[in-house]
């Protein structure tokens, strides 16, 4: 549907660079969240952002969105300095469910991703309407797009929000805990949907997760945030006892269960992820 390669600097393997952190640091309320963060995300990659609570995973996304300013270094998206309102970037914030009484149709919510931020009265537009319907169909939400969004299930709401994030023509999708509070079936369905968007549309995916296991089979790389530092690499290289112990600065052990799931445990308590944090 969309050209995989944008008009940005190419890497040797021919893929465009989607995001670059260069010695970036963020300070919030006088406290350094993380610093000296440097890594690159290639176009079309599926990247999981992992780490314990409060490590600054969401802040990483917010820095990419231009919501949280850096205190040092730089961050670029598709070769450009970050800015709010970038149509090339779609965002699903961490959230609880919509209020069940919220009386606005799901399709109206998707439309907001296109021109919801503009001033003035929205005029009927056939092309915009078609674009919205195309995205609704892409996420498989056509059957319930006319219903008030508050009445939809958690999984249905996530599909609608993914359509909203993509509708402006986003080439990068940032999702903050999109699988949280979903049952196992929906976790599977939503992660498959995200993978499909990544593979078929060439959309770069950055996904913040508590639990890497539901997405482990199709994660290209992992960005692990802990102790004010970030380690980036292939899942098997990052989610290891030695790497994480160095990152946490405390003994941490990575266990593999008999069904291939990864569990990270600290000395006294589980540091990070179980299926239900």
């Amino acid at each position: 549907m969309r050209d995989e390669v944008g008009l940005v600097d190419k890497k040797p393997d021919g893929r465009a660079t989607a995001a670059v952190f260069d010695r970036a640091a963020v300070r919030l309320g006088g406290k350094v969240v993380w610093r000296d963060v440097s890594f690159e995300v290639a176009g079309g990659e599926f990247v999981a952002i992992l780490g314990p609570n409060g490590a600054g995973k969401s802040t990483l996304l917010k820095a990419l969105l231009g919501i949280v300013p850096l205190t040092a270094g730089s961050v670029k998206v598709f070769g450009q300095p970050v800015r709010r309102g970038n149509d090339e970037v779609g965002y699903l914030p961490q959230r609880r469910r919509f209020d069940p009484d919220l009386r606005i149709r799901a399709i109206d919510l998707v439309r907001m991703g296109l021109d919801g931020g503009q001033w003035g009265v929205p005029l009927p537009s056939k092309s915009k309407q078609e674009r919205v319907e195309e995205m609704v169909a892409l996420v498989g939400a056509t059957g319930y797009a006319q219903r008030p969004v508050g009445e939809l299930s958690g999984g249905e709401q996530q599909r609608i929000l993914i359509a909203q994030a993509l509708v402006s023509g986003a080439r990068m999708l940032m999702l903050d805990e999109p699988l949280e509070s979903l049952d196992l079936n929906n976790q599977q369905a939503i992660s498959n949907l995200i993978r499909g968007i990544c593979q078929r549309q060439g959309v770069t995916v950055l996904l913040v997760a508590h639990d890497v296991n539901p997405i482990l089979p199709f994660v290209d790389r992992v960005v692990y945030v802990a102790g004010g530092q970030v380690v980036c690499g292939k899942p098997a290289d990052v989610i290891r006892t030695e790497t994480l112990t160095r990152l946490y600065g405390a003994p941490v052990e990575v266990l593999t269960t008999s069904d291939g799931r990864l569990v990270v445990v600290g000395q006294h308590e589980p540091v990070s992820y179980h299926a239900d944090h």
Binding site: L65, G117, G120, Q146, A165
Partner: protein, 300 residues
């Protein structure tokens, strides 16, 4: 007050209604108020800011009294006080809107104080209860030509502001985090809407009074949102209901010589109860399928 009662001749009835200047003023101001209150009310209900609307109206009460005391228009006094209160709420942040937790005690005290202040101002002015009564419960008698002009200016300006900010305001209401990431200034919009709401409250108080403000500023929007989840339709429906309540209420008050506030609140309440009951019955009968949005292939 009326020379004759209403007949079944609608034209004659309307001529009868509008034969006095005060009724013409009441209908002009009432129409402007209904248009603005109906439109603002959609956003009030969607944003869950009914309490803020109520708060503004009560803080406006001493403003009206001060306007009377200083021999300027009471509407002007209302506008000044409501604006100050709106900026105060905007400054204090969203916590106040919900009206719960620790703030509710502080807010309650401020509201009681403002009503007391209004009582004092009216007492200082005339010592009569008539002025207080009309600003607490609304009136169709006391709207001067100057108030009508002021109402017109306020309504036109507020409507223009709503048309401008309406779309990003809905976005910021429904999905503030995404709206912010998309470049919408959520906090400025919130304060901007409170300012529009202050204007809407200030002119609405003329018709239904401080205590009955919900009838025009909340009930039509709440009823409209029960009937449709389409933003455009709900907004139009809210305005239509607000107009209907106001016109019918003014006419009934004129012909019966009973308070207009009673009729407008009764109509608003009846409509809301009917709609809820109809929806409830439909949900029971149709397995929750009726009254849902019709699924046309081409929405919008």
């Amino acid at each position: 007050m009326p020379q004759q009662g209403p007949s079944w001749d609608l034209v004659a009835d309307i001529q009868l209604l509008l034969q006095f200047h005060f009724m013409q003023n009441a209908f002009i101001a009432g129409t402007l108020v209904a248009l603005l209150a109906g439109a603002a009310g959609y956003f009030v209900v969607l944003r869950g800011q009914s309490f803020a609307a109520h708060m503004l109206s009560q803080v406006g009460f001493p403003g009206a009294a001060a306007g009377v005391l200083l021999h300027v228009s009471p509407v002007l006094g209302l506008i000044v006080f409501c604006l100050a209160a709106a900026l105060g709420i905007g400054w204090a942040g969203r916590d106040l809107d919900a009206g719960h937790r620790a703030e509710s005690a502080a807010v309650g005290s401020i509201l009681a104080f403002s009503l007391g202040l209004g009582l004092l101002f009216f007492r200082l002015y005339a010592g009569s209860a008539a002025g207080i009564y009309s600003f607490l419960f609304g009136t169709i008698l006391g709207i001067s030509d100057r108030d009508v002009q002021l109402t017109l200016a306020v309504a036109v300006l507020s409507f223009a502001a709503l048309a401008l900010i309406g779309r990003p305001l809905v976005f910021a209401t429904v999905d503030p985090d995404v709206a912010e990431a998309r470049g919408v200034n959520v906090q400025m919009l919130s304060i901007g809407f409170l300012v529009v709401l202050a204007f809407a409250v200030a002119i609405t108080v003329q018709i239904v009074g401080t205590l009955l403000i919900f009838a025009l500023l909340v009930a039509p929007g709440a009823s409209a949102l029960q009937l449709t989840a389409r933003p455009g339709r709900a907004l139009a429906l809210s305005v239509a209901l607000s107009l209907a309540f106001t016109w019918l209420g003014l006419a009934l008050a004129y012909f019966t010589d009973l308070p207009v506030g009673f009729f407008i609140t009764s109509l608003a309440f009846a409509a809301y109860v009917l709609i809820r009951a109809a929806k409830g019955a439909a949900a029971v009968r149709g397995g929750k399928l009726r009254f849902r949005e019709p699924s046309f292939a081409t929405p919008n």
